[in-house]
């Protein structure tokens, strides 16, 4: 009555319909179980207080961060517009949008943490879980896919070593299909990148060097291999 799911989750026999459904369909046991985000199964922690707008008196915010958020808030007719830049700033300070980071932004912006949580989880570039401080986004979307981006993504992941403070992830279209296959290293677009260059890229990020100098989009004299140098 408790078939193991592919992702290690045990289906409890509490739901007879579900259990019968799976038990009666052995041919489907081979199909992968739908991927599920972590929060789905999570119960609220009833020992916590409700997350209301934090009282500024109770939350300490780094002065630089507070100033930056307030500057962003001043730019818009509605202070809530500053949510994205403010969260991005907090993410720079904390490495990810941790509950603490969200509480600080919420205290400055006078919104509830849940408001920000919902924004954070919506956008790909805001991290709701701790990840490396450096990021390498490998575009695997349609155009790059056609130029073997998957191999590059796999090579990047393979080049990672334990302890690396790098967030390597496959990303949907980065808007640089002419450079395919390409990747975005901390905001710098490089491409085309051959999978064999992946270890070099990762090593450069690890050591704080500029990966593949001269081949970044904004680099001086950057041009694609098939373009004539102007």
């Amino acid at each position: 009555m408790t078939p193991e799911h592919g992702n290690g989750r045990t289906l409890r026999a509490r739901d007879p319909v579900a259990a019968d459904h799976l038990a009666g369909a052995p041919e489907q046991a081979a199909t992968p179980v739908p991927s599920v985000p972590a929060g789905w199964d999570r119960s609220a922690d009833l020992t916590k207080p409700p997350a209301t707008i934090p009282d500024p008196a109770q939350v300490e915010v780094p002065e630089d961060l507070r100033r930056e958020i307030e500057e962003h808030m001043a730019k818009y007719p509605d202070r809530r517009s500053a949510a994205l830049p403010a969260l991005a700033a907090a993410q720079r300070v904390h490495g990810w949008c941790s509950p603490e980071a969200i509480a600080q932004v919420a205290a400055v912006m006078r919104v509830t943490p849940a408001y920000l949580s919902s924004v954070v989880t919506f956008y790909d570039m805001l991290n709701s879980e701790p990840v490396g401080r450096h990021y390498v986004y490998v575009c695997t979307s349609v155009s790059c896919h056609l130029r073997n981006a998957q191999a590059l993504a796999d090579a990047m992941k393979a080049a990672l070593e334990p302890g690396d403070d790098i967030n390597v992830r496959e990303f949907e279209c980065l808007g640089a299909c002419d450079m395919a296959p390409m990747c975005d290293v901390d905001g710098r677009y490089i491409g085309p990148v051959d999978p064999s260059e992946a270890p070099d890229v990762i090593a450069a990020v690890r050591e704080g060097r500029t990966p593949l100098p001269g081949r970044g989009l904004g680099d001086d004299g950057f041009h694609l291999p098939w373009e004539q140098e102007s």
């Binding site: 009555m1 026999a13 509490r14 739901d15 007879p16 259990a19």
Partner: protein
């Protein structure tokens, strides 16, 4: 997705029109067939069953006292207390009060179980709707028909009584016997 009417038309085969010589023959034939049955029964031995020493066997599809079931492997009750039997019951003789299973008190396989399950057999009309309504085959109509008692309240069967097997087994008749 309209449904063609032609699929619903059933051709009825009719016998010949009554009257005439053929009709008279048919009437005579049927009458003789009837008389044959009459004479056969008139000459057979009377049937007497010495109840309660001897019990009338019933057909397997006989609708007698209800039974609640458990899963054979886990022993958990099949009933999840959904109350659909109570909703289906035309006599209104079923009462279900559900409760929630907890990890240390797992009674049924679902999230909920029937904390109270009562059938007032004085009211039951043995229509079998409860059986049809049950989504988990948790309740079925048994074959026991010995349902007499001295007080009415004793005929309100509780869950424990319905889950238990009857003391005396009612003899079954094979289909077609």
């Amino acid at each position: 997705m309209s449904y063609p009417w032609s699929e619903d038309v059933i051709t009825v085969e009719r016998g010949p029109e009554p009257g005439g010589v053929g009709g008279a023959y048919r009437v005579l034939g049927e009458t003789l067939r009837g008389l044959k049955t009459v004479f056969k029964q008139a000459l057979s031995k009377p049937v007497t069953i010495e109840y309660p020493e001897e019990k009338t066997p019933v057909y397997p599809r006989f609708r007698g006292r209800h039974k609640l079931h458990r899963f054979e492997d886990t022993g958990l009750e099949k009933c999840v207390g959904c109350s659909l039997c109570a909703a289906a019951c035309p006599a209104g003789c079923i009462r279900v009060v559900a409760a929630e299973n907890t990890p240390d008190h797992q009674v049924s396989a679902g999230e909920r179980y029937a904390a109270v399950y009562e059938i007032n057999l004085t009211r039951c009309i043995f229509c079998g709707y409860c059986e049809i309504a049950c989504p988990f085959d948790a309740i079925t109509m048994g074959v026991d028909y010995e349902l007499a008692d001295y007080t009415r309240s004793d005929l309100i069967f509780t869950k424990e009584m319905l889950l238990a097997d009857p003391i005396d087994k009612t003899p079954l008749r094979a289909e077609g016997e």
